[in-house]
Amino acid sequence: MNRGSERSVMPQMKQQLSKQVKRAMALGAALVAMLADKSVLASTLMPPAVTKTAGEVDDIYIFLLVSSLISFIILIGGMIYFVVKYQRRSATDKTAYITHDHRLEFAWSFIPLVIFMFVFAWGWKVYHDMRAFPENALEVHVMAKKWDWRFLYKNGKEVTSALDAKNERVPATMVVPVNRPVKLIMASEKISANSTDPSDRPVLHSFYIPAMRIKQDVVPGRYTALWFEAEKEGDYWVFCTEYCGAGHSAMKAKLKVVSNEEFEKWLSAEGGGEMSLADVGRGLFGSQACIGCHSLDGSRLVGPSFKGLFGAKAHKVEGSSVDVNEEYIRESILNPNAKVAAGYPPGVMPAYAGQLSDEQILALIEFIKTVK
């Protein structure tokens, strides 16, 4: 290409260019400042964050947004600049023959790697907090089915959706206290507990509170859990985010965060406190004949005692050890031979799969939790 004629216009071009670069940089700085202002971000892009964790997620989000914007400007700005500057002038243009440049290539491999490793570690740290369940959390059982949520509190209170006068579904409202950790123990159930229709089986759902930036799949055949601590009173949406059929988008619930006093008042009103889950479990402990083999005082009968069992770490079972949590108790009721307590013979306890409803199993678990 004939670069001679270009040289004469170069100073003028350079001046113009530097003006434009300055202007672009000022604009970029303003944009970055705007993005970095969390309140602006919160009100435009994300629902307001109402937990500490959500605030931390937003910090990563902002970092990623700003660094993405910068990378985009470098890459696409560079691309556009080169396309404008090196437009074809004639069919016989000569071009530079540049095959590689090790320093440049190292830079654009290594710098992204460092940034990626940094956000990886940061994301891990925040995720670790999401998965570290506080000991003293208020526990609520969440039951998901096609296509509705319901919530069971330990004192026996149950919240479900309802139909209003116009026959439209009013979502269930889970009420929780502000500034207190809440742990959700979630399970998937059939549409109708005693249906024999093979197509009515529990399916995957996912419990998602956008305002808290948390989400967890609800998986048939096991318990999954989530926790949060709301810092602001208010009403928030709960969505199902794992596709579960035609009613997927209608599968919503409300989360109402209230003061502690209001919560306690709500919890004991209307159906609360009459028969707690643990009370129901105590009844089943007798009626299902658990009592014949499992003591409550630590003494050894046919099977291990329930005293102090729940929450035990590294509980010895045949061949390995487990932490005793909801999942282990559930498995041991439904399929007792899966993990037999060390020192006890296998094959003694009958399997209760199909004998107990999901709710009865929950009640037994809550009862075993109370045997300290």
């Binding site: 654009w108 596709y243 209608a250």
Partner: protein, 534 residues
């Protein structure tokens, strides 16, 4: 199209289009070029069907509440859009169509190593599609293209037909991959060493390795799913002792590498376009070639990033997040290399180049938003929201489809010996590019706000952005209609192109357009690299 182009090409010399005549000669052809054209027609038809489903989805979502269809029809539209676009458009799109046509030509071969398998692969795709679409006669599948269990094991025959269709189509992919690996190793022209093969071939070669190694895993998974549906065996049903999450592991063990089956060939096309239209040698040939291989290798170990909230352990999540970040590096390398190739080039902004630059623009957005999803804490918020929908459309449509369009307009003169009207082709780019951003950029915001994907209905506060998105979808539709028109117009009335209208350097441009039956009159001897613009 077959007979039309044969007739109009008759005044040229002897070439692959007029070598044999009649529909039967096409249906039994062993010529890689003709099989490529068969794939072109097939993929274009499926793209039309998948695109119509896309427009139905966007029309339904124009306003909250029911707009044009019931929730049942919506879930089916969404399933067919996804399954058709993934299994019958994007996966065969570049390798089986452009790759089939140009891989042998770019390495100076007469054909692929196994021409009969090549034809069989096309029949597998057609057979798979026929079986998959039979599901419509059974009320239609409504599982989404991911077939997650236990929802998909409810004894619905439509799901079984759909799954078996994808199973059969998978063999098309395996056979094509096998053919490409062997062809690249065994049929290169004298002097065509591995570091002289064009980057499009490198990309196809890396893709072929994934196709051969990963697709069988999907095949087995789909077979298990069908067996579970038909016989109630209980691999994935917890009521029978199975594990529904196991299905997700199996599925993504294929389907994440499959994402690279979809995008790696696009990288190859872009490397060809950027060099040809800058008339400049590629910057970092080795880096681009080996980053394709690196991506192919690492892609097998990142599947769990689809499952951060599935109930897998925290440690599994952390390891998958880490490995996913590693895939980001070779991807970034390619973008920088293409940008550096433009430096001091002689840039021609014809339609294929506009598509390549559009690819860089959109793929960069798709790439950086991938980091949002690879970062485990932010993914918990974005998982299964519109943010994910926007991200993978930026990669798969903004990436792969832009590359297919660019590739079609780039190689059209070689395939048919005729020129496409560049102005019309540029207009198609304008509408697709603008429409694409109008459609999918708002979806990033919707996802950030928390709107879940696969939703038939949404909160009123999401309506404005959804309307914008729907308008964009129609713009994309118009763009593809214009693009289709440019192709048809080129076929019917295109001016003769001559052998090398772009002045490109790879081997396929050294022979006549359209190429003769066995590609080259004389065996090419290679003495230099693929992009010797000096």
């Amino acid at each position: 199209m077959a007979s039309g182009s044969t007739a109009s090409a008759a005044h040229h010399d002897h070439n692959y289009l007029n070598h044999e005549k009649g529909l039967w000669s096409w249906l039994t052809t062993l010529d890689h070029k003709r099989i490529g054209i068969l794939y072109f027609i097939t993929v274009a038809l499926f793209f039309l069907v998948g695109g119509i489903f896309a427009l139905l989805i966007r029309t339904e979502l124009f306003s909250s509440g029911q707009t044009i269809m019931t929730a049942d029809d919506y879930t089916r539209s969404m399933t067919y859009h996804g399954a058709i676009m993934v299994f019958f458009v994007i996966i065969p799109g570049i390798p089986a169509f452009l790759g089939n046509f140009f891989l042998p030509m770019q390495i100076g071969a007469k054909d692929v190593a196994f021409p009969r398998l090549n034809l069989l692969s096309w029949y597998c795709l057609i057979g798979g599609a026929a079986v998959a679409l039979t599901s419509l006669a059974f009320g239609g599948a409504d599982t989404g293209w991911t077939f997650y269990t236990p929802y998909s094991i409810s004894m619905k025959p439509a799901v079984i037909w759909m799954v078996m269709g994808a199973f059969i189509a998978g063999f098309s992919s395996i056979l094509t991959g096998l053919n490409f690996v062997v062809t690249t190793h065994k049929l290169r022209a004298p002097g065509m060493t591995m570091n002289r093969i064009p980057l499009f071939v490198w990309a196809l070669y890396s893709t072929a390795i994934i196709q051969v190694l990963a697709t069988p895993v999907l095949a087995i998974t789909l077979l298990l799913l069908a067996a579970e549906n038909i016989f109630g065996i209980g691999f994935f049903d917890p009521a029978l002792g199975g594990d529904p999450v196991l299905f997700q592991h199996f599925f993504w063990f294929y389907s994440h590498p499959a994402v690279y089956i979809m995008i790696l060939p696009a990288f190859g096309v872009i490397s060809e376009l950027i060099t040809a239209f800058s008339r400049k040698t590629i910057f970092g040939y080795t880096a681009i070639a080996y980053s394709s291989l690196a991506i192919a290798a690492v892609s097998f170990f990142v599947w769990g990033h689809h499952m951060f909230v599935s109930g897998q352990s925290e440690w599994a999540g952390v390891v998958f997040s880490f490995l996913t970040m590693l895939v980001g590096v070779p991807t970034a390398i390619k973008l920088f290399n293409w940008m550096a190739t433009l430096y001091k080039g002689s840039i021609n902004l014809s339609a294929p180049m506009l598509y390549a630059l559009g690819f860089m623009f959109l793929f960069t957005i798709g790439g950086v938003t991938g980091i949002f999803l690879a970062t485990i804490a932010t993914d918990v918020h974005f998982h299964d929201t519109y943010f994910v929908v926007a991200h993978f459309h930026y990669v798969m449509v903004g990436g792969t489809l832009m590359a297919i369009m660019g590739g079609i307009f780039y190689w059209f003169p070689k395939m048919f010996g005729k020129l496409v009207n560049d102005t019309v082709a540029r207009w198609s780019f304008f509408f697709i590019f603008m429409g694409f951003n109008v459609t999918f950029f708002p979806q990033f915001v919707l996802g950030s706000m928390g709107m879940p994907r696969r939703y038939f209905d949404y909160l009123p506060e999401y309506e404005y952005l959804n309307q914008l998105s729907t308008i964009g979808a129609y713009m994309i539709g118009i763009g593809f209609v214009i693009g289709g028109w440019a192709v048809i117009q080129g076929l019917l009335n295109g001016k003769p192109s001559g052998p090398n209208p772009w002045g490109a350097k790879t081997l396929e441009w050294t022979t006549a357009s359209p190429p003769p039956h066995e590609n080259f009159i004389q065996q090419p001897i290679v003495t230099a690299g693929p992009y010797e613009y000096r």
